[in-house]
Symmetry: C2
Subunit: 251 residues, 2 copies
């Protein structure tokens, strides 16, 4: 609100390596370079930009880290399509560094899961339901192996999200997933009935999808997450403690 009209725009002597990175980035974001397209060799970029190879390399590293450019088997550069989990990893780290609490994580997961399953109810396909069923069967088979159950649970919920067919929501959820699902293992250990309740919830969730019953889906999503929270607390963990990479190893 307190806007002062600036006479001059800020002068930012941008380092050459940044200009290299931004120049390439602009080409990609504008669509002139499409994912998969080869970017020249370092020597070529040196020639085009008229800077030293070290400078080019520093610039490329930036994009490479962001996933905007990749290196194929031969280490040659090509335009990449940054995938969500890569971004999610970063976001996850940021959340850890900002010391967000498990309570925040739980809250967010609650609303995001409900949103996501509501869409899934509308859009799920038979094939997806079959895959979810298969996942449940695998979970039942692994009833005594908590680590495997946690992994399958994570897979189950990722499949649910995909069934919602909204990539914006999917991206929004991923960081919370990465943080909450690892600690599922701890939560499951909290109560001996954990695996049973988890399997029941998964069954009912799939049943909701089959019946296209949003209310039921919501109810069981809530119940499922409350179970998680109870397990978490029973395991002696504190909801108000900041998430960390030890309890919820996000690698």
């Amino acid at each position: 609100m307190s806007e002062v009209v600036e006479k001059f725009s800020r002068i930012t002597p941008m380092p050459a390596y940044q200009m290299v990175a931004e120049a390439i980035e602009r080409e990609i974001l504008s669509g002139r370079l499409k994912p998969g397209d080869p970017i020249g060799t370092e020597a070529e970029l040196v020639r085009q930009f008229g800077v030293n190879r070290s400078t080019v390399r520093e610039g490329i590293r930036l994009l490479e880290h962001g996933g905007l450019v990749q290196r194929d088997s031969s280490r040659r550069l090509s335009v990449g399509l940054p995938h969500y989990d890569r971004l999610a990893t970063r976001a996850t780290r940021a959340l850890v560094l900002h010391e967000v609490t498990f309570r925040e994580l739980f809250e967010a997961t609650m609303v995001l899961s409900i949103a996501s399953i509501e869409l899934a109810v509308e859009r799920v396909t038979q094939e997806e339901i079959d895959r979810l069923d298969a996942n449940i069967r695998a979970t039942e088979a692994a009833r005594d192996d908590i680590a495997t159950i946690a992994a399958l649970d994570s897979e189950f919920h990722i499949m649910l999200e995909k069934a919602g067919r909204n990539r914006v929501l999917e991206l929004a959820r991923e960081p919370s997933n990465m943080l909450i699902h690892p600690s599922t293992q701890a939560a499951l250990g909290g109560t001996p009935y954990g695996p049973d309740r988890l399997i029941e919830a998964h069954r009912m969730l799939v049943e909701s999808l089959r019946r296209r019953d949003k209310d039921m889906a919501r109810t069981w999503t809530r119940r499922h997450l409350v179970d998680w929270r109870k397990g978490f607390e029973k395991a002696g963990l504190d909801l108000d403690q900041p998430v960390d990479l030890v309890t919820a190893r996000a690698d």
Copy 2:
């Protein structure tokens, strides 16, 4: 599910610059280096890691781009706290590259906004309400300047989110914000009543907070967003077109 047991783990001869980056990253994520802590000079890192300065620089660039390390005024290195908008910028770019549609964006924004205002109803403070009121007054004053209104609208919604006090949700919302709010300008131009309806919605949203009325807050959030969608369509834009940086300039 179809897991093949691999005999050998993949051999990845990691380049030295990556090892440098990961070594520093580990120190930060483990908490041994806290935000603000100085990292040594390049020469120092050269000594510690026993590699060339070029190599160290390439490694540092990676972290620097991710916001994990910063350079202060003097360009000296210190541990940074990657801020959300930085990550959101990346996420936004990914969404553009994945060609998500405005429909997906609209859907996600709907559920995220509702979730966010529900929390805000519970947690908003008087001071925040005052700031929201001030924003509305500024919007009224700028009634004929669509660009300014769009900017104030964006600010309004960011304030709402902060009032929800859930940083996970905040992070989850940011990419959609970055994409949807810029196109608010186009949506406002779609109908001459646009600004009036926007101001009314904002007024009612703040009123809901004041009364701590979740139903009212939900209702007006929906209405506000449906207005946005109508304006968007009236402006001749297609909801099923992929978001791009032209319509929704995300810089």
